[in-house]
Amino acid sequence: MHHTSTGERILRGVLISLALIFFLFPIFWILLMSFQTNAQILRIPPSIVFTPTLDNYVSLITGELKTASGVLKLAFMQNLLNSLILSVASVALSLVLAVPAAYAFARYKFRFSEDIAFTLLSFKFAPPLLVLLPLTIYFQQIGLANTYVGLIWVYQLITLPLILWIVRGYFEDISPDIEHAYRIAGHSWLRSFLKISVPLAMPGIAAAALLSFIFAWNNFVFALVLASADKQPVTVGALAFVTASGIQYGQIAAAVVISIAPTLALALFAQRYLVEGLSLGAVKG
């Protein structure tokens, strides 16, 4: 067993607390802001003592923002739904494509396999703006601009290489003989892939899916250029809070809180698989 002295334990506790405060304080502050009016937010000095209001959330949900210059229409709920559709569909499509591909790259050394895998990864190196302009033109010509299909297709640039490379590593860590043992006992290659390899790589697949979901959810540039109002995700939709009569900090904070929620829920859900994967012990033979 590993023993630690009391001093060491206190020091560790203090350091962890500092790190947590540093990282969580902005989120905490945003949470507070989301229950404040714009006036309360902007007063100097700021105070954590205030009368909470649900107005920000109400205006997001009803889609009506009352400002000094009148009532503004907000598409926040539609944006949230768009974000969900785009992220979930992109990750799902990527999983279907990238998990078998990752397996192939892990198991079979075919001609140019390394080059192909690297090319797929290199899509992540290029700045999105590089491809955006030609993409916009092409998408408009073939009618994919401002469609879910088109956006999900472009989102593959974000999600597919990530899943491919993470999951490939997990497959490489599984001894091929574990599959061989199953196949020689009378099962096909496909069954061994589905019944043995994929379940054993599940922690990696869960981690990759979670990460790529977060990246897809946070994407801004692709959606900004390729989607118009009714297909915009929250990242782009949040621009609407910068209104003619000022920036609506309260609504922005509430929007941030709401849009963090799905990612947070997914992380908590995936955590089970991540931890389970760790507790299964070494998969290597």
Partner: protein
């Protein structure tokens, strides 16, 4: 259920289209009778595991044919070959207990639960796995994992059992016990098995015949006793036997029926007229050089023979290992009794004609033991 196995000129070539292809296995041919246990023996990289994996279907056969019974299997998927295999790295499924792992192998047979449980219990008893059956692979020792992996192969009903280093991780005491049990189990059920090992004790104990491999080439395929008595070449001669055979490059001289084997002008071994057969004399006469091999147990230490000086003397509990220098270099002798001689002491070493192995200077066998002495027909000599 059990069947014969034929490997007919099987080749495994990596990069066959490259300018310099690598031959992992070259023209490997053996025939295995139903119910026979065969060991593929060799050092690592000799091609024995590649051969086993070709039979299992995890390596493609570049050229040649593999048949089980009258079925040609080298193009079939592993699932259709009706073979069972125990893997060297155990390869148990981490999320399943040992019991589930063994039972998992029976899934494709679609047995009812009672029959599955009965078969798993039987194998667990054989391999002394009872207390660990409900534990997970990561929580048991390497030896226990290895036994579970062996159990997963044996529990199935297959026509051929492939065992890749099945005992490598076992504790020495258990290894001897399980070797006996495994052999009895295979025999009782009349199972055909191919075992890959680098441990000659294991090969000798388990196998009816041993295929000695080196550099992807089959060196000799024979019973353990035959391998020891008449190694086909110098490689087999020195590979089989512990401690290894003493080997000397010597110049043979035949004069008036007397055979003298000398190195650097000094006679190592001399044989009086009549003690060496004419056939053998004919075979060595005129050669500039031959290689003689002497097993340590066949060296006579006494008053006659070449002069030698003791370098070290070890009593290892049931025999003496005596290392000496003599005109040929170093000679190791094993003596069944306790032999009292200190380092530096002068002795004489000799080898009876019927214990000498003679190889050509390229290493192929010319004559073995008794053939050298007794007037036996020359055709008996292994190629």
């Amino acid at each position: 259920m059990t069947a014969s196995v034929v490997l007919d000129s099987v080749n495994k070539i990596y990069g066959a289209r490259n300018p310099r292809p690598i031959y992992a296995v070259r023209d490997f041919s053996i025939e295995i009778a139903p119910g026979e246990i065969v060991a593929l023996l060799g050092s690592s990289g000799c091609g024995k595991t590649s051969t086993l994996r070709m039979i299992a279907g995890f390596e493609e056969v570049t050229k040649g044919e593999i048949r089980i019974g009258d079925r040609r299997i080298d193009a079939l998927a592993p699932a259709q070959r009706r073979v069972a295999m125990a893997f060297e790295g155990y390869s148990l499924y981490p999320p399943l207990t040992l019991r589930e792992n063994i039972a998992f192998a029976l899934k494709a047979e679609k047995l009812d639960n009672a029959e599955t449980a009965r078969r798993v219990e039987e194998i667990a008893r054989l391999l002394e796995l009872g207390p660990y059956l409900d534990r997970y692979p990561s929580t048991v020792s390497a030896g226990q994992q290895q036994r579970a992996s062996l159990g997963r192969a044996l529990v199935r009903k297959a026509e051929l059992y492939l065992l890749d280093e099945p005992m490598g991780q076992l504790e020495p005491q258990l290894r001897a016990v399980l070797r006996g049990r495994l052999k009895r189990y295979l025999r009782e059920h009349g199972l055909t098995a191919i075992l890959v090992t680098h441990d000659q004790t294991e090969a000798n104990a388990l196998a009816d015949r041993i295929a000695v491999m080196e550099g992807g080439v089959l060196q000799q395929f024979a019973s353990p006793a035959e391998l020891k008595r008449a190694p086909a070449n110098l490689f087999v001669g020195t590979f089989i036997g512990e401690p290894p055979m003493n080997v000397y490059r010597v110049k043979p001289t035949v004069a008036d029926g007397r055979l003298s084997l000398s190195a650097a002008g000094a006679e190592l071994f001399g044989y009086a007229p009549g003690t060496v057969s004419d056939a053998v004399l004919d075979r060595v006469r005129g050669r500039e050089e031959v290689i003689v091999g002497v097993r340590p147990a066949d060296v006579r230490v006494g008053a006659s023979g070449a002069p030698a000086e003791v370098v070290s003397n070890q009593w290892i509990g049931d025999q003496t290992h005596l290392e000496s220098t003599f005109p040929g270099g170093v000679i190791v002798a094993t003596i069944q009794d306790r032999f009292r001689a200190k380092a530096g002491e002068r002795i004489h070493v000799d080898v009876p004609a019927d214990r000498l192995h003679v190889f050509s200077s390229e290493g192929s066998a010319l004559s073995h033991g008794r053939e050298l002495a007794a007037p036996r027909p020359a055709e008996r000599v292994a190629a």
